[in-house]
């Protein structure tokens, strides 16, 4: 009897942990160092909220933005940085990265980004593959990236959970996890799943096979959720007499989506497929947060805007696949301006080269829009790589813009960030200066880089 009580206790405990929204394992242990008080003054500020302050100041205190405006009081012990009229933006956020899971050097031994062994692998989590010593991360920091979202690859219909990380040096992935960021779920449309599995003569081998695969997975998720709800609705006495349903890692994640706790990040190139995915979301009553690699988003920009779905796009990548054949340079601008300027456009990288200069990618897309008469201002375009990805990752309450109370993720640029010649001068993550162009010891080298080319040198 004692044994039975024990087992019931364990069962109840595991169910409670599941239903308590946050899974207790793998929690963020990130804690920023002491930022002190820093006043950046005489800066041309793109706030990320859509406005620009021509000569303004930002006060950082205890890792947060304490004040922003034209002129600010200087508390006693404040360190003052004169930006000399240079541009300041929020820390850049890349919503599509594989840093850590496809690290450099690109070796098979650390190529851990895609569990491409089954079309639905909702049970895998990208964070369990992250190599924190990937030398691509400090390179991205130099490009102004303060937060990035790591996704599993796109071979699968449902590829697993993504994770949002702060771009800091850490020995553990938990030490990089963005505190309180919701989990995400990677899904993929189109060519990749059907090529990978069709190539093995298994399902899916067509786009209709893809869609059947998603729907079958959601049907299983609904039934699992019903099973959980049925158990939950029982009286305490009844619960003591039976085991809680066995945990199912795959379906837990899918139920998390149905419950609105896990955000769908959906790799999808074609307009038709985006429209179909939105109908699947309606059928099963969940929300698609973002379509990634949305090369054809411009064809369905109004539909995306009506449904409140973001499109994450490249400025100009095309032609590597058939579904990437219809690229237009104005894609982001058209998405942005849909339904009277109510679209949600994001520029993403999916590349360790591109992540180092999302500002230039946004610049290209902005310029293309302006040439087509769409009137995109720098204060608008900066949102494509700051506030909009923050919204799509569910962290806009904490990051993505320079607003009081938010994390002090701040970049000082040596010129107009929408130029090929502009580089970052200083990058703050939670108010801590992690890159300073005048300090060759920043960004902190990864373990991998130490002593490789020159054991006496600073980096490499």
């Amino acid at each position: 009897m004692k044994k039975l009580i024990f087992i019931v206790f364990i069962g109840t405990f595991s169910f409670l942990s599941l239903s308590s929204k946050e899974t207790t394992a793998f929690e963020s242990t990130y804690e920023p160092g002491n930022s002190g008080d820093i006043l950046i003054e005489n800066a041309r500020i793109l706030t990320g909220t859509g406005s620009e302050i021509l000569s303004g100041s930002i006060l950082i205190s205890s890792n947060k933005i304490k004040a922003i405006g034209k002129t600010l009081d200087k508390p006693g012990s404040t360190q003052i940085i004169d930006a000399n009229g240079k541009w300041v933006t929020p820390g850049i956020i890349d919503i599509h990265s594989h840093m850590g899971v496809y690290p450099a050097p690109g070796l098979r031994s650390s190529s851990d980004g895609n569990e491409s062994t089954s079309p639905v692998t909702a049970h895998v989590w990208a964070e369990h593959s992250v190599w924190t010593q990937d030398p691509q991360m400090p390179l991205a920091l130099k490009g102004g990236i303060t937060t990035f979202h790591v996704l599993p690859g796109s071979a699968n219909l449902i590829g697993g959970r993504g994770v949002t990380l702060k771009n800091i040096w850490s020995r553990t992935v938990q030490g990089m996890k963005f505190p309180g960021a919701p989990y995400t779920l990677k899904m993929a449309c189109g060519e990749n799943p059907k090529r990978v599995y069709g190539g093995r003569n298994s399902e899916p081998s067509t786009r209709m096979g893809n869609v059947a695969g998603y729907r079958k997975a959601w049907i299983r998720a609904q039934s699992y959720r019903n099973k959980l709800a049925e158990y939950e609705s029982k009286s305490e006495e009844a619960k003591e007499l039976e085991y809680a349903p066995t945990r199912d890692l795959e379906l837990e994640t899918l139920v998390g989506v149905l419950n609105g706790e896990i955000l769908i990040q959906n790799h999808c190139y074609r307009g038709e497929e985006m429209a179909v995915m939105l109908d699947i979301a309606k059928e099963f009553n969940y929300k698609v947060t973002t379509f990634h690699h949305a090369v054809e988003a411009y064809k369905v920009a109004d539909i995306l805007a009506e449904n409140g779905v973001c499109a994450a796009m490249w400025a100009d990548w095309w032609g590597f696949k058939h579904e990437a054949f219809d690229m237009v340079w104005e894609n982001a601008a058209i998405v942005d301006q849909a339904n009277g300027g109510n679209g949600c456009a994001i520029i993403h990288s999916d590349s360790s080269v591109g992540i180092q200069r999302l500002n230039q990618e946004a610049a290209k897309a902005m310029a293309a829009g302006n040439r087509a008469g769409l009137d995109i201002s720098p204060s608008r375009a900066i949102q494509w790589i700051t506030l909009n990805p923050a919204k799509a990752l569910g962290i806009a309450g904490k990051a993505g813009s320079l607003e009081v109370g938010k994390m002090a993720d701040v970049v000082i640029w040596d010129g107009n960030p929408f130029s090929v010649y502009t580089k970052t001068e200083k990058v703050f993550v939670d108010g801590v200066l992690l890159y300073d162009k005048d300090n060759p010891l920043t960004p902190k080298a990864t373990d991998f880089e130490l002593g490789i080319i020159n054991s006496e040198g600073d980096r490499l």
Partner: protein, 428 residues
Amino acid sequence: MNLNKKVFIGLLSLLISSFSLSEELLLKNAKIHTATDRGTIEKADILIRDGMIVRIGKNILSSRAVEEDLSGKVISPGLIAPQTQLGIVEIELIPETRDDRSDIYSAGLSIDSAFNPSSTLIPYNLTGGITLSLTSPSSSGLFSGLTSAFSLSGSLEESLISSNIALSANISGGEDSMAAKVMLLEDSLKLAALTDFGQSPFITRGEIQNARSKRNGVNYYEIYESSLPKEVSYSARDLIALKRVINKEIPLVVRANRASDILALIDFAKTNDINLIINGAEEGWRVSRQLAEAEIPVILQPIDNIPNSFNELGSRLDNASLLHKSGVKILIGSHETHNAYLSRQGAGIAVSYGLPWEEALKGLTKNIAEVFKIDKRGSIQPGYIADIVVWSGDPLEVTSFVEQVYLSGESVSTKNRSMRLKERYISQ
């Protein structure tokens, strides 16, 4: 119109055209980046006659030229893409749209007959500012094949500018030791040196006999059979291509990044007395003095600073600048064929890391034409072909656009498929 009238008008227009003065075009008031030692000239004019540049200077007058006022605009030579698959690849992941690989031929693969001037990538990259592509096959073996230069005019008859002007090779990748590949490079060239196919890739028994007697009984065909490792065989076409490298008619372009590999290749080029170009050279900055001394040019993709393999751990964004300072000739390209024109973004990044702007422009134009011996192209100077791009601003700046392109002095369409798609959807 009756037939007689037609014939009469036809004859008349033939007469007029043959007696009329040559065509002149005068581009006025532009900021001109010449990519020569004259550098940049503010608010200047270019006079073009019969597709050739005649004069560059201030206030040029011509009584009969068609004038274009380009006030506020920027002119550069048409950009040249140094290593692409433009015209031989449509969609990367679809093999049946690719003509850039062969298992049958290696060094001797010439892609001229596969080049498709109507590929969608051609008007697209023309719109990006590229007027000439050095198109190369990309087979993964030791030798990829021969590079040819094509105009991006889209012309079915006249795209080929210069045929089989370089041979590409790879020494990285695969399971074999780098050393084995350098040895095979050397053995292959030595074998080719012994062959004598004349003009024909085919050899008859009689010719073998003939060669035997000429060479005092040495049968080079037998040497061929016994001199190479078992797995390696070359067709006559392959050997002819290799022989052109030995004879210094064409350069050998070898993809290499690691500093020690570059040194090994410099040594190899000296020993075998060939013209070498290094493609990649991500750790070139570590051996820049040796590259400069050996006068070996490098093709860089300066946007790429990722330590993608253990052969490029020393990759860095100021590589172009450091190499230039040491006196190495820099050619600037892109890893991407579809977006080959983004070499200009890489050039801009190299500038932000210390490469002088004028050198970056030469790296996209003049240096490529010089190194690959493409006559009368790559810079704006009298006597040169008028392949000219008009920009909205700084050609290296990401927010600048191509406004007009002249190929041999003719204004060409800068519309492409992507723009048609945009026009269809932007108004919806």
